[in-house]
Symmetry: C2
Subunit: 126 residues, 2 copies
Amino acid sequence: MSNVNEIVVRYLEVWNERDAEKRRDLVSKTWTEDGGYFDRVREGVGYDRIDAMIAAAQEKFPGYRLNLASGIEAHHDYVRFSWVAGGTAEAPLYIKGTDVAVVASDGRLSLVIGFTDAAPAPVTKQ
Amino acid sequence: MSNVNEIVVRYLEVWNERDAEKRRDLVSKTWTEDGGYFDRVREGVGYDRIDAMIAAAQEKFPGYRLNLASGIEAHHDYVRFSWVAGGTAEAPLYIKGTDVAVVASDGRLSLVIGFTDAAPAPVTKQ
């Protein structure tokens, strides 16, 4: 796979895949073997840790799905895209993030850096 | 220098410094020796090429100054921030970008990846 658009779509699919076997398969098709993911609150390097990290996020946010929410901007070996999740009755907290990734020569991702664009408003008790 | 806020401010200062000697000095204080910069239209690795790249951008955009236009978001060894330039009578084209950088152990930047958030509207002849 050398198409950067396809790898971004596959990357979002990993976060949405709740079947453990399928998710693990997608992780290995999305990241290089030594690949990593880092955001403010989580990190994982290598397939085992990335998979466990995503499983934990899915457990914390049941019913949430990441959807692409920007164009896919690519130059050199880098790509940037934004995604949204939640904001629905089933998954009320609205989250928006922008990820920047390094694309390896085989088209998979060697590094994903996640940044937060929107987090839920603080809940106030009345 | 280990403060990520200071290195971001210094990084923007490099792009604004028109004195060749001062700019070159700032380049070496901002990037590691093997550091690099990449955006859609330009790239430079090492002090000579980064300095020449910035000098060429300054020549192309006289009167422009980059100003920080976001919070500075940092986690792990990564930092993200946005900047704006132009939109003034002296420098009419408004440009906005977001840069993502890798911070080395000594606090300098080993990699800067530049992305474009806003480019000038196309000019139409009437």
